[in-house]
Amino acid sequence: MNFLAPFFLFGALAIAGPIIFHLIRRTTREVKPFSSLMFLQPTPPRVTSKSRIENLWLLLLRCLVLLALALGFARPFFRESSAKTADAGGQGRRLAILVDTSASMRRETLWAQAHEKAEALLHSTTPLDAVTLLTFDRTPRVLVDMERWRTTAVEERAPNAVRQLAAVRPGWHGTNLGVAVLQALDLISGARETVPSRGEIVVISDMQEGMRLDGLQGFEWPPNVTVRFESVKATKLGNAAAQWLAGGEQRDAADKDEKLRVRISNATDAKTERFRIAWGAAADAGLDAYVPAGQSTVIRVPKLPEGANKLTLTGDDADFDNTLWLLPPQPRRVPVIFLGADAEDDTRGSLFYLRRAFQQTPQEIVEISARRAGDAVAAFEFQNAQLVVIGDGATDAQLAGARQFARDGRLAVMPMTSPASAEALGRLLEIPGFTASEAVVREYALLAQIDFQSPLFAPFADPRFSDFTKIHFWHHRRLDAAKLPGAQVLASFESRDPAILRIPLGKGGVIVFASSWRPPDSQLALSSKFIPLLHAILDDSSGLPPARAQYFVGDEIILPPGPQSFTMRKPDGTDAPVSAGGKFAGTDLPGIYVANPGELRFVVNLDPEESRTSPLARDRLAALALPTESENAAPAASAGDGLHATAADTEQRQKLWRWLVLAAVMLLLVETAIAAKLCATKRNPAATP
């Protein structure tokens, strides 16, 4: 027999009470008046065996009552042998063990603790249990699936899984608990057999504040599944972290030094408040930061010296997140080709507004190269260009290059400045005899129907931005969309004439404006919609994701598209090939990644959420309404180990304490009856003889 709360067994010592009372009660309590003591000699009251025998049954009952109560409070249970630990229905549990391998688990001995708990849990399983072992950080990974568990010999299952786990070390990724729990649920319920058995998900984690709980809110949990948290704890909870606030630098345009903004956050449980940010060994290569516990502050780091690409934070308890990698901003160059005869400073031409629409940003430099009618455009220029705008007066060769450009998957933009532009459009699309006429516009025309589903207008889909009625069109051309194969009208005037069309061409397409953005034709170039619209076209054409100054561990790095294949050199010096799509997913270390050829450098930092190492607030977890088994499943209270939890389960099932309390009550009733009888006999001794 085992006990859940063995300390209560000390209560059994209380049986000494009745024994003592039975020995001394008679001498102390009763006072008998007697006529005279002149013939009596004092004799010590003796504790005779006779006096004990008289009330032996009563004493025995009283002791048994106390013993039963003490046993009941100690919550006894019988350790079930593994062969019969089956549930009521003869089915084992379906157990999913999730072990956190995120970066925060690198602290102190957390990983050792987690390993220990997982091992205990694995060894406590029964042959009937179906177990799957997963590790998780940003994404879950299955170490041992149920099929493999099932096919392994019973005595080899746990050791095998433990071996698998022993080969794992915490990485540098962030934590996404939500995805992991849902995946675990899939694993244990996906393989559900005809008889539903009890499912349990055990999460072994440091339960840090920064873990993501996506998808758990409001999740409809199937019955029979419980989630239990086994948290591991670090002794030192203080942690500070530095985060590079990349992207905010343009606001400091006046600042010639290009200072980098770094946010220092300090944990709520931190004891220290003073930290040092250093970028070199020299005494002046560093800054002191004062951050009170639970707060954060932004400091400006001056431009780093040549060769320095990291900041080191010192002064806090956990150092796994104390290195911050930095690179001076490297704006991406985006070549755009303008084909046409527009003068650079002609305010009535298209080019003038095109140049002003694409301003330089820290992330991106759009380089517009205008090609006059006579300029030849090399094939590699078209290959590198992300967008081609066709103005008036483009030559056949240029149009052919633009056609090929569009067929390769990009977009060519053609604003029609006059009905004559239709002829150039016909040549571009290879539709001979394509014509357009000047529309008759009374006062002005407006865009009446806009397809906000299209990538061009998607940025304006929000009702706050979808008002195009301020943009007046004085002149526009009437096109016959039916003559353009596959043409998609993205916007049309109130006269139902197409205003903006997308004509597919090969892998890409041509965007045709029935009216140009020049002020003689419309107010479009002067409106606030112009710049987002052109950027939407550029993004649609290039297919590049938004430029990022830094990546986080686990993010995919997207390399600029091109014919060449890249090799990525990771911070640890190893080379990894980049897949054909130009996407590199192997960012499993923080540091500087270098893509060759071209020496493209990328910064990969630790997920800043991972640095929030304070324990997850209990109410946040409670708000998720997870099907936890009991209160002590909450992270703050889950001090008990896995063995204790299974003991609690067993005890809960057996509920032996009920029988013990019942026995105590019955014994008390018998004791009361016997004592009452004895009392009656004593009070009326004449009645008995």
Binding site: R26, E30, P33, F34, S36, L40, P44, P45, P685
Partner: protein
């Protein structure tokens, strides 16, 4: 003082019909209790040979010259014309003083009533019995000193006073038999019968000295020693703190251990009391409160008759 009971009828003969003391004590009124005992006693002996102790006719003798003509039986002269002198035994009324112990030790009782109840009933019974014979009865109650004193009288209402005095509760802390006996010797001048009713749980020496003083004053003394059955056998079964009712002293005792010694010492005490009584020619009667009161009355009369015979024998010898 002559016609003492001749004890022809054995008191034990009617024992079965005697009242159980417990039932008797259930009667609240002391006088009624006494009457119940006395009447039951008369019923028990049926036709009584006793005609009282006072005026006793003995014989006729022929008149001789010089005899006081007052003693001539004139009715006989008128009927037969013969002169006879009616002869009487010289007898005065009996004066009886009941000396009743009212100390706290008398408040003990194991049978549902106390020794004091028993003693009072006995005293009341004797008083009733005697006053109905026309004898004068007095009362003296005492504990460590004399509490109540009623001189021996025989007049209407006296019995009632006597009963009231008897009903007063025991209050004394200790028993001092010697002092009351000395007081009796002082107060009762005329020769009389002194009936001492007490548990006599006091040192024997002082008691026997005082008793000697009383007998020396030519009083006749009968001692009733009232003892509760529990006092005689000490048959308690549990160890307890025993509290002395008089002194308030207490003792832890295991009765099973103390019993033998106690009984031995008590019997020694009773024996020494009896010995000192017999030495002084005093009747000593040990009364168990579980025994009917009528037996006590028999004992009383028996003691009186023995004494009467003794005196007569002494007179004849003289």
């Amino acid at each position: 003082m002559s016609a003492a009971p001749t004890s022809t009828t054995s008191p034990q003969a009617g024992g079965a019909s005697f009242l159980d003391p417990k039932a008797l004590m259930a009667i609240r009124n002391l006088e009624l209790r006494a009457r119940t005992v006395v009447e039951g006693f008369w019923h028990g002996i049926h036709r009584s040979p006793y005609h009282g102790f006072s005026v006793e006719f003995t014989e006729y003798r022929p008149y001789a010259q010089g005899d006081d003509p007052r003693y001539l039986d004139w009715r006989l002269v008128a009927r037969t014309d013969r002169y006879f002198i009616k002869k009487f035994e010289d007898e005065t009324n009996l004066r009886c003083s009941l000396v009743v112990d009212g100390s706290r030790s008398m408040a003990f009782g194991s049978r549902g009533f106390t020794k004091a109840d028993y003693a009072r009933t006995l005293a009341a019974t004797l008083a009733y019995f005697l006053s109905h014979q026309g004898d004068a009865t007095g009362l003296l109650t005492f504990d460590e000193q004399v509490r109540e004193y009623l001189p021996a009288r025989n007049r209407p209402g006296h019995l009632r006073h006597l009963m009231l005095a008897l009903e007063k509760p025991a209050s004394g802390n200790s028993t001092d038999v010697a002092t009351p006996l000395r007081r009796v010797a002082e107060l009762v001048r005329k020769r009389s019968l002194v009936v001492l009713i007490s548990d006599l749980l006091a040192p024997v020496e002082a008691f026997s000295e005082a008793l000697a003083l009383v007998t020396a004053s030519r009083h006749e003394v009968i001692v009733f020693q009232v003892i509760d059955p529990a006092e005689r056998t000490f048959d308690f079964d549990q160890a307890a703190r025993f509290l002395d009712m008089e002194t308030g002293r207490d003792l832890f005792l295991d009765p099973s251990l103390a019993r033998a010694d106690y009984v031995r010492r008590l019997e020694a005490h009773v024996e020494s009391v009896r010995a000192s009584c017999e030495g002084l020619g005093v009747s000593h009667m040990l009364l168990d409160t579980s025994k009917p009161l009528e037996l006590a009355l028999f004992d009383f009369l028996k003691a009186r008759s023995v004494r009467g015979k003794l005196i007569r024998r002494k007179g004849a010898a003289a």
